[in-house]
């Protein structure tokens, strides 16, 4: 069975610092998609970044980038120059067979 593991339940950093959220997954598939979602206190679920497993190049979206290590089944999210608005729950997810398989989430707190 496919699983997604986020080993950091909670993290906090100072504003403007860089933070990395870890995510590992387990699958026997070769082609799949990985996502990071952000859920701020409003509880709206927002797509942060998307990675296609067949692409070696790491995805980037402004201050957000991933370190995708396919052999290690690792998909970490790096947030550069963190801002107060980045405070949220962050979920890693694996896409397979019409479904997203979710990690348990990491609560990220950005301190002023």
């Amino acid at each position: 069975a496919q699983t997604v593991t986020q080993s950091q339940p909670e993290m906090s950093v100072q504003e403007a610092e860089t933070v990395t959220l870890s995510c590992t997954y387990d699958t026997s598939e070769n082609n799949y998609y990985l996502f990071w979602y952000k859920q701020p206190p409003s509880r709206q679920m927002i797509l942060v970044i998307r990675q296609e497993a067949y692409k070696q190049q790491n995805a980037t979206e402004n201050r957000f980038s991933v370190n995708f290590q396919k052999a290690a089944k690792s998909f970490s999210l790096k947030i550069s120059d963190s801002q107060l608005g980045d405070t949220a729950m962050y979920f890693c997810a694996f896409y397979s067979n019409y479904q997203l398989i979710w990690g348990a989430g990491t609560k990220l707190i950005i301190k002023p």
Binding site: Y33, M45, W102, A104, G105
Partner: protein, 111 residues
């Protein structure tokens, strides 16, 4: 552009009462539709998904049911709510592998 509407935003219902949460999508056709539940401080649990009108797949046995009467309409229902049905419910749609777009959620409290 595609949008997703989910309502109501909050709902307080007594035990044993029925439930109907509605989700509609605009700007796309034949989307995959999903209902998720999220307990406080927890991740998302997939309840139902649908790949077409009248096609519903259930992921967990429960007191809830789903229906898709139209291509862009997805309804979550219950005949008799239980206390354990309380939670935050999210509707989502996806087109192939381009990620999910979520509705704004419904906070359901069963009292």
């Amino acid at each position: 552009s595609q949008t997703i509407h989910q309502w109501p935003a909050t709902l307080v219902q007594p035990v044993g009462s029925p439930l109907s949460l509605e989700c509609t999508v605009e700007g796309t056709s034949n989307p995959n539709l999903y209902w998720y539940r999220q307990a406080a401080g927890r991740g998302l649990q997939l309840l139902f998904y649908s790949v077409g009108i009248g096609q519903i797949s259930s992921e967990v046995p429960q007191n809830l049911s789903a229906s898709r009467p139209q291509d862009r309409q997805f309804i979550l229902s219950s005949k008799k709510l239980l206390l354990s049905d309380s939670g935050f419910y999210l509707c989502a749609w996806s087109a192939a592998n381009y990620g999910y777009t979520f509705g704004s959620g419904t906070r359901l409290t069963v009292v």
